[in-house]
Each structure stands twice: as structure tokens, then as C-alpha cells.
Amino acid sequence: MKDIIVTVKNLWKYYNYMGQRIAILKGVNVLLYRGDVACIYGPSGAGKTTFLKILAGLERPDAGEIIVEGYNLTLLDDDALATLRTTIVSYIPQDYGLIDDFTVYENVELPLLVAGIPEEERRVILLETLRYMGIVEKMYTKVKYLSGGEKQRVAIARALVVTPSLLLADEPTANLDWENAKRVLELFTRINRDFETTITIVSHDARVLEFANRRFALYDGVLKEV
């Protein structure tokens, strides 16, 4: 029996738009197990990013329950959710969320600084992660000089450096050509195999589905396993 990593029960999220209350997620239910690679597929505006941000503790739901590794996110305050992001959950936004004027090393180092890891240990973990991601030779290059594929690797390295149980990637292939996108998706598969990390990818690109062992469709705020 596999460990349950994510439990989502009857999740609702509304947005106010021009004075109207619009439901973006309508009673979403999902169970994710350790080692799952889940892909949530759906058109733009279906609520994929909102769902991922709620899982990362970056947004709060209006109703429902989310339990990640035994922590009920709906009961945690903002500080506890922030702590969760340095330990259990890592989130990779669509625009990578990197600081362009920082070097690769400085960007990947940030979660370790937040976690309060001592300098020597930090350096060892960082070099190991950058080597694993194949970007060790770029470690002193500023992020603004990197290509889209390299930036994506840096963003993944930053997410991976704290060895999270749950890795959330928002449209990781959206800004890449298919060759680079395939490499990134293979990297996710390798991370999943090597660390048994549960990975959730949201995408509007149906080709991403073949890299996942759990496939979900999110249409008009309703999530269904396919």
C-alpha cells in the first residue's frame, strides 16, 4: 500500500470578477500517492494554476480540505504555509520565479538559506544538485544570460534542493520547444525515479500526458481522472 501524499476533498475556489462571484474550482477531489507523476491537463483559464497554488499554500481555498503529508493546509496560518514550502512542497511557477540578476548558485541557494543550513553543508548540497541537473558549469552565470531550457533547470534545481515530497510544476513546457520540453519532462521522470518524489504537472499541452502515470482533466473547474 502506497503512502498518501495529497488528499483534496471538495475543494472550492471563487474569484470576484466585475462584481460577480465566479467559481474557478468546483468541488475538486483527488488523492495522490508517493511516487505518482500526475499531469493535470486542461485549457487556459480552467483553474489549473489556481489549483497548484492552493496545493503550494500560495493561495487559500474558499471551501474544502487539503492535506499534504498529514498537514491540513486549510488550518495552517501564512507562516506555517511558508515553512511548508521550505520542507515538504516545492513550487515551480510558469515564469520560473527566478531573480534574473542573481547567479544560478545564488538562486538555488535561497531555499537553503531560508532553511538555515550551514554554509559548508549548503555548498555540498548545492553542488550535488547542480551536478544532478547538469548545470554545474553555469553556476556563476547570471540567470538573465541563460536560455529558457536552462532557466527551467535552475527553477527545478531550486525546487529540488530541499528534497521535497511534493513537487509542483506549472506549465513547465509552455516556454520551450518540444525537444527542450522533452528533456525537462524526462528530468522530472528521473527525479521521480531517483527520489520517489510525487510530481504534479499542470499543462495545456496534451503531449505532456505520456510522461505521467496519473492523468487528470480539468475543465470548467471540475477535475476528473482519465
Partner: protein
Amino acid sequence: MHYKILIKTAKYSIKCNGFNYVMLYAFSLILYIITCPGNVTLAISLILSIIMLYASILSDKLNIAQLINAYNIVGLKRKEIALAFYIFVNIRILLITMVYIIAYPNFTVIAYLFVLSNIFIALVYHFSFQRG
């Protein structure tokens, strides 16, 4: 508190374009206050200083947004992010304050500048960044 992140933020503030504008302004401000001493000069310079600070933040708005976004993603707490922003901006406020210490060493004026600019910056943070 993650002081290394705060030091990184201060260094980043110095490297951003807006700091160069504040530096240029600081040099011209020293000349202005020394060559035209008086209360009118002082009043005008205080208003200009606050406008200059606002302009320097506006010019670095994307950098600040990137910084806050990255800090949020890696799990820095809200209060720590606000403190990082405060340090980012206060490096610039300190530079202008130093100009007044050199050119017009009057405690009341310096205190006014410091308090006013900080209130102003807090409002900018609240309305432009935290809500965004």
C-alpha cells in the same frame, strides 16, 4: 531572521538601476544645499528627495517584484519579505540622509526625511506589492 538573505537584498538594492539614479541625485543635492542654503531650499529638497525615492523604486519595480516573488516561493515568511523590502529601500533612504548629514547637519530635518520617506515607502509597499 535570515540575515544572509537580508544582506543579499541590500547588495541587490545597490546593484539595481534605481540606486544609480539616487547616487546621481545625492551628488547634485549636496551641491544644491551647499550653494543655496536656506529654508526654501531645504523644503524643496525634501520634497524632491521623496519624489526621487519613489522614482527609484518605480524604476526597479520589476526587480522588486521578482525578488518578492522568489522569496515567497522559497518559503520566506510575510514579515521577513516586508523586512527585505524595507532594507532594499532604506539603503537608498540612508544615502540621501547621509547627504543631509554632510550638507545640512540638522537633526530635525534628517528625522523628518527619515520618517516621511519611511511612511511613504510603507504605503508604496502596501498598495503596489503586497496587494499585487
